[in-house]
Point group: C2
Chain length 311, copies 2
Amino acid sequence: MRVAVVGAGALGLYYGALLQKSGVETHFLMRRDYDAVVSRGLQIYSINGDFHLPKINAWRTPEEMGKADLVIVAIKTFANDCYQELITPLLTSHTMIQTLQNGLGNEEALAELFGGERIIGGVAFLCSNRGEPGVVHHLGAGRIVLGEFVERDGQRLERLAEMFRGAGVDCRTTADLKRARWEKLVWNIPFNGLSALLRQSVDRLLAVPVTRTLVREIMLEVIRAGNAQGLHSDIPEKFAESMMEFTDNMGVYKPSMQIDREEGRELEIGAILRTPLRFGAEKGIGMPRTEMLATLLEQAQSGLQTGQYCR
Amino acid sequence: MRVAVVGAGALGLYYGALLQKSGVETHFLMRRDYDAVVSRGLQIYSINGDFHLPKINAWRTPEEMGKADLVIVAIKTFANDCYQELITPLLTSHTMIQTLQNGLGNEEALAELFGGERIIGGVAFLCSNRGEPGVVHHLGAGRIVLGEFVERDGQRLERLAEMFRGAGVDCRTTADLKRARWEKLVWNIPFNGLSALLRQSVDRLLAVPVTRTLVREIMLEVIRAGNAQGLHSDIPEKFAESMMEFTDNMGVYKPSMQIDREEGRELEIGAILRTPLRFGAEKGIGMPRTEMLATLLEQAQSGLQTGQYCR
């Protein structure tokens, strides 16, 4: 299996490094970290054990990478306009495309361009961030839930899951990708959104009763919108409470969107908030707090220079 | 008429200076500006014409000020716990107390302490801020709407209004103080709240369509809550649109709460947001966006050291 990782942020580098370490032929499309990785290799500092990969198949363009059996998509969602340019050169007729991106709408956009049959969704629960070029910090979790975008027998999915498990990743499969995506949004929307807006880690949000209530209310909006999408089974309302308790145990954790904001980067407001809002509105579900949060985040970002992401 | 101005911020100094200039015996309770005013007098830079008062009756304690016929209350609402200490020494049996403070609940709190008969509410529409000690900038507007807290004939109110008009203030009276307060909240809640939260002047909020929509939705929540309070006549929904257009003409204006936040001061979240929310909830009016805004502002303030305000 020849794997191409497109998007060498913390997530792409982390999972790609684990795959390479387990013997899978892995190639990385890189920009920022290219020079560092070519000269010093890739260093992973992980709660599961640090490791160093002295030699990485790093490439600056998808044309140089060549064809792949599996493309792992790990770019930020606001760069999804680059799908065509970054992925097309990697494809054969049988190449699978697995997105590990945040939020909603990524599988749909990939299917539109490349056909739904080859698309696999992956929902990643990973706490990680980048250090200096060539360094990734893995702070917690790491589970991946994989699901087919178009229903089919589970063989292909199970093979992929086996590959990740062989690399040490807690990888599960689901027949209900949509539910897995919405479950992650139940956490992502309030915590990424509020932490980014207020520049406060999750523990500070949870320490104040009225803010805790706001987090819960946003979660319930997301659960209601998700359950209107025709999931195989409903997400129960008590899922909100269990996500709050799960987060109570995370301590001083900064969600990725907060880090992005603090570092002056663009935020994934589209995939994490606006697309779920649109899916909710299409089913007649009002989400006033989520809507307000999206608006406030966009307004907080207004004036930010957004750039060219593809190359 | 011997007037005592309690709270020498921009608003108290501005109206007090106009009264003194027109010949009314005016006394000011001061902290920050005391030394400057005693040595250099009070300087007003106003769109209606600059002026300087070389000598001010400035006092450091209410005991030194002595009794007054009219107490004008102009302290920040988060210091309302100081009413008793600051106002009691100024009172005779006939002293009137006129609050020009922001938000809701001030007349009620004053009535609780000093009896409702002497309380007069004043809703001020003033764009002003303080410069260096002893300097006030008057940037726009200045109208005051006066109303009795307890219904009675209009004679006393008219006399007060005449005094302000004689000082050059556009002063009107209303038989429906509650409506005047809620009308001001229709502007204050979205613009003070959002500008303080995002640290953006009103023109930036109004320039973005989704944020403009959010402002309008918050205004409609406030109008609905106000109309549930038993006003003499309802505030029409179209009042929201006229407030938006009014604000379009204000240009790059920073509401007082934004300035307070930028300067690290405590925000008037109680009087401007929490008390209106409580009044709305008592009448069964849901205000999810206003509630979320109050929560976000409190959360943004969490960790701010709040101090002793009375002396």
